[in-house]
Assembly symmetry: C5
């Protein structure tokens, strides 16, 4: 799974029938130490109710179809967790504000 920040949304009115009603979020991959965006983006299906600005991790490939929201859908990316904290070498690089 890859860490990323939710930075926006992608809207489509003309799409494959199987993906009607699903939210597509624009994610920017981040460096897990500095938390800076890498200017590398992916459109991901949301399975957890993530919002703009939150740090999440998403699953790629066939496993993106293994959430309750995305089962059987044509998807290669699904957000499966909103991150509370990232710890590296004993220190937090990120802690979600309460």
């Amino acid at each position: 799974m890859i860490l990323a920040r939710v930075v926006g949304t992608v809207v489509s009115s003309h799409k494959a029938p199987k993906i009607e009603g699903i939210r597509f979020l624009l994610l920017e991959k981040i460096d897990p130490v500095t938390l800076k965006g890498k200017n590398d983006f992916v459109v991901s299906m949301d399975s957890v109710g993530a919002g703009t600005g939150e740090i999440v991790f998403y699953v790629s490939g066939s496993s993106a179809r293994f959430t309750e929201v995305t089962e059987g859908k044509p998807t290669d990316s699904a957000i499966i967790a909103i991150v509370d904290n990232i710890e590296k070498d004993g220190s937090f690089t990120y802690q979600k504000s309460q």
Copy 2:
């Protein structure tokens, strides 16, 4: 899923039997903020009737077989949505002209 612009078509008269009758579009990946092409191309099966110049997103890998058009086909890329708008940090970076 990855954002891209439809920039052309690829035609083949000699191909695997299972992919007869399918349209192959040439996509150029774009930066979702500047909308500029990245000079990185992929040949994708069209499942939504996309046309040249439109911004779309496509699904890669095994999930490319999960649309009605591509089921059971040897494909690793399928266009699943024509994009209406892209919103990043509260502003539109792209809005499809009416």
Copy 3:
């Protein structure tokens, strides 16, 4: 799918039993606009009778097993089409000579 030129062959007498009798072609990925090779190579199973010098596109990942030649084989790359022409922004960047 990715566009490439057939540049050679790879021969092995000692291999997994399931891939006996299959042709392995050496492909060099190309830029679809300039048609120049990218010095990036892949070994692909041929499902369409492609020959050296031809421009083809191949499918990667699990879908490489979805041709009649490659079904059930341990393969992550299969040539599925010999390209007749590539059109970008209304002009041909490639037309196969007759």
Copy 4:
């Protein structure tokens, strides 16, 4: 599979139901000769009880679902081995301390 060092953990209280109770470790890919980190990170499900500082290898893609811990889970990365030693060209580049 790719060699990496366990450098931390990622904690989430809001995630897909199927991944409750699984440990998510932060891995940094390493050069197998110098053992230096590549500043390239992945979040991986632990199937072997790996700890911070250990060198492991992980499996990516659909096969990440093929361990006892990760079966049926939405995962694209699972740690499947803690490395004892790495040998290259007849010399050890890494030997786990006893």
Copy 5:
């Protein structure tokens, strides 16, 4: 499939039960023209009895589970052929010594 040279081994005494008894080889990807190593490494399951110094090609992704040795295993890389020769544009870039 990707061409690589077998450069070593990776040993683990603590690993997922399903991969007990399998040999893990360290591969370095090579340029198929110059045969030089690319300093890019992967740990691969051996299905053909490859030895150090040999040039092989391996399969990635789900298809790595489609050899007799690796069936049902958590693997994303399996060596499926020891290469005898590589031919590019009519000349051999590699011929295995007898």
